[in-house]
């Protein structure tokens, strides 16, 4: 009798565990997902500071070796060395200022690919007039996780009024 009761209790515990474990796994997965979102946001915040301090190597370190950068009115930059030449030119421009604001972060289910959308304002010296010119627009940056760090694969900026909607204005399921 005692054995039967023990068996029943064990069965109940196992059923309860089976019911709770998937839920617990979902919560853990959601937690990991949120942690990745925070990590990418922190990466972009750091990147902003590196532009401010014109730290070329740190600015460049955010890209994978075969990354692509598409900036308004310029030919595409493919690969780290091409991107280095772009960033070097930017860092050498005393008027240069680039500030970008992350508005959305998305992580794929696989957990190793994601993207951000945001807006930017940039000031650069116009090569013809030698005067600083401000421009603004929106961007999308695609990331992949490389050696535990989020690195940019593709960085595409569009000039003109930013049309990235603030996440708060959207329905809750469209994070």
């Amino acid at each position: 009798m005692k054995n039967s009761l023990s068996n029943l209790s064990l069965a109940a515990v196992l059923i309860l565990a089976a019911a709770l474990i998937p839920g617990a796994m979902l919560i853990a997965a959601a937690g990991a997902h949120d942690a990745e979102i925070r990590e990418i946001k922190a990466t972009e915040a750091r990147w902003n500071h590196e532009f401010e301090s014109r730290d070329l190597e740190k600015m460049l370190a955010h890209y994978i070796d075969d990354a692509t950068v598409i900036a308004p009115g310029m030919p595409p930059f493919h690969g780290k060395e091409a991107i280095r030449s772009l960033l070097k030119e930017m860092a050498a421009d005393q008027a240069m200022s680039l500030k970008f604001q992350t508005l959305r972060v998305h992580i794929a289910k696989s957990g190793d690919v994601g993207w951000t959308e945001g807006s930017y304002t940039m000031t650069m010296t116009d090569p013809q007039t030698r005067k600083p010119v401000e421009s603004s627009g929106s961007y999308v940056t695609v990331y992949k996780k490389e050696h535990g760090e989020w690195k940019a694969v593709s960085d595409i900026a569009s000039a003109g009024p930013s049309s990235v909607e603030e996440p708060s204005k959207e329905k809750s399921h469209e994070r």
């Binding site: 598409i70 308004p72 009115g73 569009s158």
Partner: protein, 131 residues
């Protein structure tokens, strides 16, 4: 709906566009689809609903010849799919060609495309249209 299914919906829409099947493309849109295009040209800004987006495609056909259109990579996160690709176009007004890499971000709702946002080098495209 799974991320894989959402990628398939977006892939089918590009396939329809590539074979010129605009009925199939528009069938994949939600009635109140929101369409956001960057830049300062006649294409820029926000459009809503199939009728306004029909106007977008008519304008595209009037002003540009599409030489190549290649969606290359699809990445999904829940209700959203980002597509990375490249197009080569020729401005009909000037005959000048322009190419740009692009990213297009789609939101899927109830199996339909509900929001589109494009990121591309609009200044290169706009320069090709300037005489």
């Amino acid at each position: 709906m799974s991320a894989e299914k959402n990628i398939e919906i977006v892939q089918n829409a590009y396939a329809a566009f590539s074979r010129g099947d605009m009925d199939a493309l528009f069938n994949s849109f939600a009635d109140d689809i929101q369409w956001l295009t960057p830049g300062n040209s006649a294409f820029a800004g926000e459009r809503r609903g199939k009728e306004e987006i029909g106007g977008f495609f008519r304008l595209l056909d009037e002003q540009w010849e599409i030489l190549s259109f290649e969606p290359r990579e699809y990445i999904a996160s829940g209700y959203r799919v980002v597509v990375l690709g490249r197009y080569d176009m020729r401005a009909k007004s000037t005959g000048r060609a322009a190419a740009s890499h692009w990213a297009m971000v789609w939101t899927i709702r109830d199996g339909k495309l509900a929001r589109f946002q494009e990121y591309t080098d609009t200044s290169t495209m706009e320069a090709a249209q300037s005489a």
